[in-house]
């Protein structure tokens, strides 16, 4: 095998792993944002955005 093969494969592997990582972070973010929007739409907001009397529950963050 020529040196070009090893160089091309090295850059391809690097690009593939980096793109998978970027894609995973992006898709994960999009899915979470959609879930939050759905919860908001169904009237389930954050505790801090609810009336004072309903603040007995505790959760993080």
């Amino acid at each position: 095998m020529t040196h070009t093969f090893y160089i091309a494969l090295s850059y391809s592997v690097t690009a593939s792993v980096a793109l998978c990582l970027i894609g995973w972070v992006w898709l994960d973010g999009r899915a979470r944002r959609r879930e939050l929007a759905e919860l908001e739409a169904s009237g389930i907001g954050r505790r801090s955005s609810q009336p004072k009397g309903d603040a007995a529950q505790s959760y993080k963050p």
Binding site: M1, S10, L21, D28, R33
Partner: protein
């Protein structure tokens, strides 16, 4: 004065909502700078001369070395976050080390794969169980172990504490990786960039390497901040669902 300012800034970021606002502001800029640096780095990587001994394969160094550097830096970031979890109980510290583990695993995988692809034409072998290669492989396994541990436990705060202890114990591997080439006989060359007496590498190779190293580092921080933001959102979704379930239970 400077220290108190730094502590104040760190405390400000303990508020996840403030962190999310900051992330939304800086992420597009970080992504743009990262992409620009990769464009310059990749151009330099292929525009510069080959090595007189290694020929064109020296170009593998421009992806291998930054990935290897990041594999160790990511673990160091995780170790700092682990201290933040155990000592300061910073609310974002466990989010930070949980989000960094898959990134560290990916960069270590790149370092191992490109090292192997560089080793075959230069050393005549894909792999040897010598000190440097084996210690980096152990680092890769540790990343996988930490990801598995975090996913195996339902309670995020308990998972964070257990992971933090394991991260700090595993940190002993980082100096072993760094100095393995000095302490033992290995096929891997000793350090040629970060040395007390300055880099021994020619400027022709040093510049593309530095630009690519900065680009990889910025890519890591961009992805780390984005992954932390995702983790905060994930916890908010879980918390809101719990809250909704309790409210439904009270009504029933």
């Amino acid at each position: 004065m400077t220290e108190s300012l730094a502590i104040t800034k760190l405390s400000d970021l303990a508020n996840p909502t403030r962190f999310l606002a900051l992330a939304a502001r800086i992420l597009p800029w970080m992504a743009a700078v990262t992409a620009s640096l990769f464009a310059i780095g990749l151009y330099l990587s292929f525009a510069t001369e080959g090595d007189y001994q290694q020929g064109q394969t020296v170009r593998i160094m421009y992806v291998h070395v930054p990935a290897a550097w990041l594999s160790m830096m990511c673990y160091s970031v995780m170790a700092l976050s682990a201290i933040g979890t155990l000592v300061w109980r910073h609310p974002l510290a466990d989010v930070s080390h949980k989000a960094a583990a898959p990134l560290g695993a990916a960069f270590t995988l790149i370092a191992l794969a490109t090292g192997s692809l560089w080793g075959r034409p230069m050393w005549g072998t894909w792999w040897v169980w010598d000190a440097r290669l084996t210690s980096v492989f152990v680092l890769f396994l540790m990343y996988l172990g930490l990801i598995a541990l975090n996913r195996a436990m339902d309670d995020p705060s308990k998972a964070a504490r257990v992971s933090a202890v394991l991260i700090l114990v595993g940190f002993v591997n980082i100096p072993i990786i760094k100095f393995s080439v000095d302490w033992w006989n290995t096929l891997h060359q000793p350090a040629s960039v970060i040395r007390l007496d300055g880099p021994t590498i020619d400027g022709e190779f040093l510049w593309p390497l530095l630009v690519m190293a900065i680009a990889f580092t910025l890519l890591f921080f961009t992805l780390h901040i984005a992954a932390m933001r995702n983790e905060i959102w994930r916890r908010r979704v879980a918390a809101q669902r719990r809250l909704a379930a309790r409210a439904a239970g009270r009504e029933a």
